[in-house]
């Protein structure tokens, strides 16, 4: 069973790493559309996959957040990735499998997965 001790350990670890890092300059942001359209299209398992992969790899400079509907419901689940100092990249029709690849290829290895991007749609 999960204990509060485990949670305390996570906190201590996070605290230590925050002190090591210069604030926000190297933050990667992942933003997932989580309105009715996104949820119905499967955004929740996509977000779960992002969180799982990020914590599995111990990537401490990545935040994952949720946003509303931006009006491209037919392309949901939509995910925006903001790498520091770069233009945002929008991924469309995401799945948990694609999410794992975006973490590995784009966020870790800095190679945009172009076949999943909105640019490849048409």
């Amino acid at each position: 069973m999960k204990s509060l001790e485990e949670l305390r350990a996570i906190k201590e670890r996070m605290k230590a790493s925050v002190n090591d890092r210069n604030e926000n300059s190297d933050k990667v942001r992942v933003v997932i559309g989580m309105a009715t359209c996104g949820i119905a299209a499967g955004a929740r398992p996509v977000m779960t996959a992002f969180l799982d992969e990020i914590s599995k790899r111990g990537l401490e400079n990545v935040t994952v957040s949720q946003t509303g509907c931006i009006g491209m419901c037919k392309l949901e689940p939509l995910v925006d990735v903001y790498m520091p100092g770069e233009e945002k990249v929008t991924y469309i029709k995401m799945t948990p499998e694609k999410a794992v690849r975006v973490v590995n290829d784009h966020i870790v290895n800095k190679n945009i997965v172009s076949e999943y991007t909105i640019g490849s749609a048409e």
């Binding site: 069973m1 999960k2 509060l4 485990e6 949670l7 305390r8 996570i10 906190k11 670890r13 996070m14 605290k15 989580m34 309105a35 009715t36 949820i39 119905a40 929740r44 398992p45 977000m47 779960t48 992002f50 969180l51 799982d52 990020i54 914590s55 990537l59 990545v62 935040t63 994952v64 957040s65 949720q66």
Partner: protein, 187 residues
């Protein structure tokens, strides 16, 4: 939507938009009475009677109020499909309570689905409010509160991936204990 937990995720967004500081999700399952009841209550800004009447209307009326959208209509459709109903109570300045009741054994009742995933995603937004999740299963209950989590993590953000993964696993394990083993409909 394929799971009731996805409807919960959707409905809770309304409470967040209403600037609630406490959001309570209660899932109550009574096999003897053959009833499954989901209640989402908040202490947000609430709605006046006119707005409430509009939200209670059909798809067509909800379309004119972009702010509200289809979430409630879809949730109501899911309840009515399973021989149940949905009610909305709201008072301006006090908050809103959404209740959906289902016939537990109805073949058309959607599975609960990934409740732990839903609660994790709500917790991810819970920096400015608290989520209380109570699950009653045949008289036994499990209660989760983001207050308890925040007490332990202090100023570590609750939306850190590691904290969220912890919340997911914590709820998942406790639900399995509540049900006395894995349940097919909870993925």
């Amino acid at each position: 939507m394929r799971e009731l937990s996805l409807h919960i995720l959707d409905i809770v967004q309304n409470s967040i938009s209403a600037k609630a500081d406490t959001i309570t999700v209660e899932i109550s399952e009574d096999l003897e009475a053959d009833e499954l009841k989901i209640t989402v209550s908040d202490n947000g800004c609430g709605m006046d009677e006119e707005t409430l009447a509009r939200v209670n209307g059909t798809f067509a009326t909800s379309r004119t109020t972009r702010k509200i959208g289809m979430g409630i209509a879809l949730f109501r459709a899911a309840a009515e499909l399973a021989e149940g109903y949905l009610t909305l109570e709201s008072e301006k300045g006090k908050g809103t309570v959404t209740t959906a009741v289902f016939k537990h054994s109805s073949i058309d009742r959607m599975p609960l689905g990934d409740i732990s995933g839903t609660m994790m995603l709500i917790s991810a937004k819970a920096a400015d409010f608290d989520l209380i999740y109570r699950h009653v299963w045949n008289g036994n209950e499990f209660v989760f509160s983001t207050r308890d989590i925040k007490e332990v993590i202090e100023d570590t953000p609750i939306d850190s991936p590691e904290v969220l993964t912890y919340i997911h696993d914590y709820i998942h394990e406790n639900l399995n204990e509540l049900f006395g083993g894995e349940r097919d409909e909870i993925s």
